[in-house]
Subunit: 452 residues, 2 copies
């Protein structure tokens, strides 16, 4: 018997907790206490007369506690290029803007760009992001410093030679499980149209050996799928299958070009392979068909939300990805009663967690899950009255309604005050570094986009 247990690290009291999204409607538990020890939720239940002893107590009266949001695919450091390639086609975006501009990116730029992305994500309630970029040691340092959780992959093209794959594997091996487990890793070939099958096989083998996933761009749009079928007779998803990438477990960005025959293939790997979905950029790029979410869900393939990089998406706001998805999916289904608010919240929670292989640990408020929690204030005019709390979260809240962001039990933002990031210093360095980063006068490019 222990009459005086040691105090918890953190206790949240008086919140209305989003506790279940698996049913016909979302379940909220008012008057809830969440207790946190060693980065995990150790108890969630009704408020007691006295809050449990804790090193930090947050009174969340009037707030909704929900699982921290998960961005299943981004290139965080591309904050560097926000707004630098607008109103252009996909081809021009790659060849005329982004890949020439990326020649200018150095290690420190990636650190500062990722840290700015981290600050933006903390402010809008994103607690985990899956990042796919270059100079990833610097991105890892930004994760350590910001306190966020991330799955990190060091991107490579086969044009880099064998070193591309090698450094991606070495990075994954070195960093997996670091930062109290906040960092996990993946092998990150860029895409089947820039990485040879042999390198994809190597990526899959390494992923199996390290117990991580492959994170890659597959069937980003229908044009890529058509070109792949024309050129080699199989779709990008089928390339993923024959190279063992799907079998190893894969985070597929973005899958807008997933065709019917792919869905059946993907269903065989549904326990370890999922698809990320970030509609804002897709609409901006005028991509034709979008990720076939209902077909994928019907066969159990998880689909999660993402923002992609802000050079196309402009923001890192997963509430926005959720809102646009819900609206657009209703219209695509020609059914206003489809893609209900609970489905949107489920996709944001357990489904996004499943895409990263973290089901049960992320995306749900439950005992044993990581203590990644956000507190959302619905008292603003724009949310009132709250006839339907799920609808408020999906269709009304603004990013700034996220008052408090907690990752691994650490409070990264409380009442909109950042605790791990020095706003003034970060903005000053970021502005200085981005002044000339869009220069394309050198005439070089990191790669050529041909979509096959």
């Amino acid at each position: 018997m222990d009459p005086q247990p040691s105090p918890a690290d953190l206790v949240i009291v008086n919140c209305t907790a989003l506790v279940d999204t698996t049913g016909e409607s979302a379940t909220f538990a008012p008057g809830t206490t969440i207790e946190v020890r060693d980065g995990r939720i150790t108890h969630i239940g009704p408020d007691a007369a006295q809050p449990p002893a804790a090193l930090e107590v947050i009174d969340a009266r009037g707030m909704v506690a929900m699982p921290g949001l998960i961005n299943t695919h981004t290139h965080a450091a591309m904050t560097l290029f926000r707004g630098a390639a607008e109103d252009v086609s996909v081809d021009d975006w790659f060849n005329a803007y982004v890949w020439p501009m990326e020649v200018n990116v150095g290690e420190r730029d990636v650190y500062v760009g990722t840290l700015l992305a981290a600050a933006e994500m903390i402010e809008c309630g994103v607690t985990t992001f899956a990042d796919h970029y270059f100079f990833m040691h610097q991105a890892a340092q930004a994760v350590i410093d910001s306190g966020l959780r991330a799955n990190l992959g060091s991107a490579f093209f086969s044009s880099q030679g064998p070193e591309g794959l090698e450094q991606s594997v070495a990075f994954a091996e070195q960093w997996n499980g670091k930062a109290d487990g906040r960092i996990t890793t993946c092998i990150a070939p860029h895409a089947p149209y820039t990485v040879h099958d042999d390198d994809l096989r190597g990526a899959a083998d390494a992923a199996r050996r390290l117990g991580v996933k492959v994170h890659t761009h597959i069937a980003e749009d229908i044009v890529q799928t058509q070109k792949s079928i024309e050129t080699r007779g199989i779709s990008p998803v089928e390339v993923g299958e024959i190279t063992g990438v799907l079998d190893a477990g894969c985070i597929i960005a973005h899958g807008n070009g997933i065709v019917e025959r792919d869905v059946e293939i993907l269903s065989s790997y549904a326990d370890r392979t999922g698809v990320t979905h970030g509609p804002k950029g897709y609409l901006k790029f005028a991509l034709g068909p979008l990720t076939p979410i209902p077909a994928l869900r019907a066969v159990g393939v998880p689909v999660g939300f993402c923002t992609d990089g802000v050079a196309s998406n402009n923001t890192l706001d997963i509430f926005e990805s959720m809102r646009i998805t819900a609206m657009v999916q209703k219209q695509l289904a020609d059914d206003a009663t489809s893609f209900r608010t609970v489905e949107a919240l489920r996709m944001a929670g357990p489904q996004s967690a499943a895409v990263l292989g973290e089901r049960g640990r992320l995306g749900e408020l439950r005992e044993g899950a990581y203590a990644d929690v956000i507190l959302v204030d619905t008292s603003g005019f724009h949310c009132q009255p709250v006839h339907d709390l799920a609808a408020a979260l999906v269709y009304s809240v603004q990013p700034t309604d996220v008052r408090t962001t907690i990752v691994h039990g650490n409070v990264l933002m409380r009442d909109r005050e950042l605790r791990t990031i020095d706003r003034t210093a970060l903005l000053a360095e970021f502005r200085e570094r981005t002044r000339a980063i869009t220069d394309r006068s050198h005439g070089r490019s990191i790669q050529d986009y041909q979509a096959h």
Copy 2:
């Protein structure tokens, strides 16, 4: 000669002003001073060494000054029902939810609901709204009290008998030009499927006599158009033509069902008739075709942004309407280079003003225009760096980036502090009044929706 002119009412200095959206790209003028007297912009130009004398001086360093946003069609008091009819079909939305719930709405509810809408709009930079609802004397009082600008129409059905039209006309006559000209009015038949042709003719005649517009729902979706053609051989737009509504000048909500033959008809009335567009609700309702914006623009018919009521749109945020429209229009056009950011800003400014018949007075920062100005802060992480200011406004800003809202030269919000509305008192009464407002146990309804 007057060596010491009387001080201006208000001066904004050091802002970056959005001064033109009519060209190939948006024009911003850094280092700009805006001088305001008697509710109008009396001067806009480069900062002087000393700011002009004024009763209030706002130093807007680091801020973008842009024309206050215009919501060309809403039912402001429907804030009462936010979130109360989610994930339902259009038919159920009307017949099973909204029209039965509206039985519960009394005069004070409309006042409080409209005032809450006003608070929400001030907070997200909307300075003018076109409102179409019941108990409009109360809405007018909320406009007076909040300080916003509004075009108000008292809605009617022919099922009310002759009194419907009569009170709509009487309201328009009584209130037009009131509140220092901040209130203008219109005649507001609900729709051709709920108002007989004779009453539409009466509305058009009264509108001509009073010099105001007709504001009505026409061709809200393609189903309405199809039913109208089936039933009487002509489209809702043609009903608008034969009843004189288009000739009198009409604000058309929502026009998603405008078909090819309608576009040519509308082109004849383009100088006085325009269309409102609020895609969020349309997508949520899974409406098939959306307002044919490119076709309407090609023949000079103005199309402006709206939110409709929050019972379908959930928010009154015109930045959101603009963002969704830009994204969705690119995809519909199958062209990522279409609907550029300048086009979105033009639609938000002069085009929305034209829908209300206020071109030159609203939607532009220019001498002689109403001093309806918002100051937007782009220094947040989510807007940085600002490689493209127009893109930041269209794709990155959050409602809370609107720091200051000015209408008719009056500062309604400064640095996020509301000056005309008591937040605590309003929220308390609003919450109390909305507690039972969704009750449908009485089994009654204000009308029956058959879409013809």
